[in-house]
Symmetry: C2
Subunit: 486 residues, 2 copies
């Protein structure tokens, strides 16, 4: 095994060598919390049970919203014939360099190589062409939960991995208006997921031409601010126009009679959202999880010294757990080999929102002590009666407080830059910068080159306003948001 | 697109050319019910929304049982370094011929080819070796929901496809007894899934040496009988002994002190179970779904002629739907372009357990007509009041009736064969044959060669009984179950 173990270590070192404090903080936070581990396959991670439970909670919340908006889940092949990728010119240019290619199957060289899906527009739209015949078949609203592979040189657990898990929605519509409405509707679903479940406020807006999905007419996104002031693209929704329907022949008999090409969308979020939670809420101790997604919302730590105390305290802990375990995800940490101090730390680095400490005196006084992970606050003398309601309310408060704190943080780290010197000074400390931009892609790329900042989006809620491009000073009415990003 | 479309058709023909009636029935049942479709990638299918909804219901039921028995979900890489597969000698012999191989990534030839996982023992046990240090880390109880790829020459939707979806459990234990207990416990979970959810009675038992999972010490299985009398292996649970822990170095400090290799298990069921439902319950009209797994348990078909009737009937249908839609998965088929007769057929081929027909007279009389898919029986004049309870009870009855019918069918198609002539005559009509076997693998293979029947299992509940091998007539006390199988 020596050779493979060395490879793993080499990758770990490679990932660490950037040596930045934030980087180390993130890697440590993820690994100390047991969310994920490096794998022996370059760029691929192992999602450990605690990380996967978090992902399952995200999935459950989002899957319900996807179904409630009329979409159905389906499953399409992992492999895509190489020739399919060629059919949409921009698309192949965007994805070909990142592809993993299967050349052999069943002991033989394949006639045509198969691409491990980097995204499924091509294979799904090939099927749509078979399924869509008439306007009555539209809209076609499909979602897929799947793994995808994009070859990455520099990887970071959850944030950028060669293989990742995601959902990808794919829809076909009779009119461009319906496709545009769908694109925006699903972006709104992502915003709700980010803000109400992940407790992370997000900007919504359009990507620039340079940042657009290859094959889309335009791409919308949600952008969150991390605790270091950097931006993280947390989800995208693409209006594909007729690009793929023309490439794959998705035609339908329109209600008016003539054949027409469908208008399409696609949209996705991924296991990257787990990274967003870590980077969006964490502190020096590690994770802080939003209660609505936390695998354990409450952990109970019994405190005792003697065997007699242990009996009494554990018995009461079990009674307390039973009070609310049908309403709240709770875990009683009854491990005997660890001290309470060890357990406090264990659950703190894992970001459990609330910890109940229960010792002999608490048993005698019929109370518990509650420790809030987000504020560090200790609430003493909370009655053991009616704990289910008390904790439900408190978890709700924590959820809101996390969102408010993130919103305040974003607001404090969002600046305006009147000129390029100011821009360059501000960006050194990260954060968002609202500034005018001339709408020229060259100017955008020069800014990226000179400052590492990119245009995160052309926000929906910004009104046109006369001004000068922050770099080239050409007159423009376009205000955009710049940031350094993950 | 011409070339790919031709390929798809070629595959369809290829699959059909066996020309058997049962084959055609199955392919038609699956496709008419909109469960799945052929894909342009050889051997891979597209699981359509109705089929995927069925799979999601199976997943939900099984996932709960897996978690209730103490297992945690996790996710491991899709790719396995080729050298990993070599580490367990039998395992590589079993799987290497079926592998899909990635040789290029990110535009470059890879130093070491990557195998698309055919099963994950190797990659998971590599990780277990990192995670398991002490007896306190055991048992390690992990499950993964994933896609896997095994190159298949002859494929059938759901039953045998190159890519399929499944769960694979992987566990490590301190003692051989615990591993054996786990292997049997999970087989029991599969039995409950098959019998209580799929409504399919299953035999449980051990596989012969020839049929054992490559790399396992022994393999247990559940075997169901399909409506044509053939057997279908519906799930397997493997006791891996120390084969993989020795190959991957999973060692732990035992409670007594010295280092020891862990004892392991793995177990899985797949999208094949969707095929089992189709083949296990279907009739000449198509699918018959067990209510506990049916995407729609009840479909409401409004019947009207005039516009006025339509108003009245649809309004009442919506009221009725609202009565129980929080307890029962119900769909109101309010499509205007189709006749009731079209809709009856539409939902029959899709196997919906109960259909409510509601016309103007039913509205006037405050009743509904209920059609049972399993028996074809029509129940007239059922009061619209208290329908939620009535339907809940009736769905429960249908679930039980399906199981009883399948059990009766299996009993009627299970025979004893006293000698080989009898055996060969019986097997021509399929069904299970209980017969003595000499425990010689050569004899087993000769029977397979001569009759296409295989030993499905050495059943747990069969007592040893003196007799003669059905083929070679050597004395033996081993009674086994033979059948032709999918």
């Amino acid at each position: 095994m020596a050779d493979v173990k060395e490879k793993v270590q080499a990758e770990e070192l490679d990932d660490d060598e950037k040596g930045k404090e934030d980087e180390n903080w993130y890697q440590n936070a993820v690994r100390n919390a047991d969310l994920a581990d490096y794998s022996p396959v370059k760029g691929c991670m192992v999602i450990k049970p605690y990380g996967y439970a978090l992902w399952e909670n995200i999935q459950r919340a989002l899957d319900k919203m996807i179904k409630d908006t009329g979409h159905q889940n389906a499953y399409f092949p992992l492999f895509i014939p190489e020739s399919f990728l060629q059919k949409e010119k921009e698309h192949v240019e965007g994805f070909a360099p990142e592809c993993a290619v299967v050349t052999h199957g069943g002991g033989k060289k394949l006639e045509e190589p198969l691409i491990v899906r980097p995204t499924s527009e091509t294979i799904i739209n090939f099927m749509f062409a078979k399924w869509v015949q008439s306007w009555r078949d539209l809209p076609l609203l499909i979602n897929q939960w799947a793994n995808v592979v994009r070859w990455e040189m520099r990887t970071r657990l959850f944030l950028r991995t060669t293989e990742f898990l995601w959902q990808e929605g794919h829809t076909a519509h009779a009119t461009p208006e319906e496709a545009e409405e769908e694109t925006k509707k699903m972006l709104e679903v992502y915003k709700v997921l980010a803000e109400e479940w992940l407790a992370l406020p997000v900007l919504t807006g359009r990507k620039t031409e340079n940042e657009r999905f290859r094959g889309a007419v335009h791409t919308y996104c949600i952008e969150a601010m991390m605790r270091d002031g950097k931006a993280l693209q947390a989800g995208t929704s693409h209006n594909l126009g007729q690009n793929f329907s023309k490439a794959f022949g998705i035609q339908f008999q329109s209600q008016a009679g003539p054949l027409a090409h469908a208008y399409q969308t696609s949209w996705g979020v991924s296991t990257r959202l787990v990274g967003a939670i870590v980077l969006g809420h964490g502190d020096e101790k590690g994770l802080i999880l939003p209660p609505k997604l936390a695998p354990y919302q409450v952990v109970i730590v019994p405190i005792y010294k003697t065997d007699e105390e242990k009996q009494t305290v554990l018995a009461r802990c079990r009674e307390i757990e039973a009070q609310f375990k049908d309403r709240i995800r709770v875990h009683l940490d009854d491990r005997d080999q660890h001290t309470p101090g060890y357990k406090f730390n264990h659950w703190e680095v894992r970001g459990v929102p609330l910890r109940l400490n229960i010792g002999p005196k608490d048993v005698a006084n019929n109370v518990v002590e509650i420790a809030r992970r987000d504020t560090g606050e200790k609430i003493r003398g909370v009655s053991q009666d009616g704990l289910a309601d008390y904790l439900t309310k408190l978890l709700d408060d924590v959820q809101k407080a996390l969102f408010e704190r993130a919103l305040k943080f974003r607001s404090e780290h969002t600046h305006k830059a009147a000129n390029y010197d100011e821009f360059k000074k501000i960006i050194e400390n990260n954060g968002f910068i609202e500034a005018h931009w001339c709408k020229d892609g060259e100017c955008e790329l020069a800014i990226k080159d000179e400052t590492k900042a990119t245009i995160r989006c052309l926000p929906f809620n910004f009104e046109p306003k006369q001004g000068k491009c922050v770099r080239c000073e050409k007159p423009t009415d376009q205000v955009v948001v710049f940031a350094r990003a993950y």
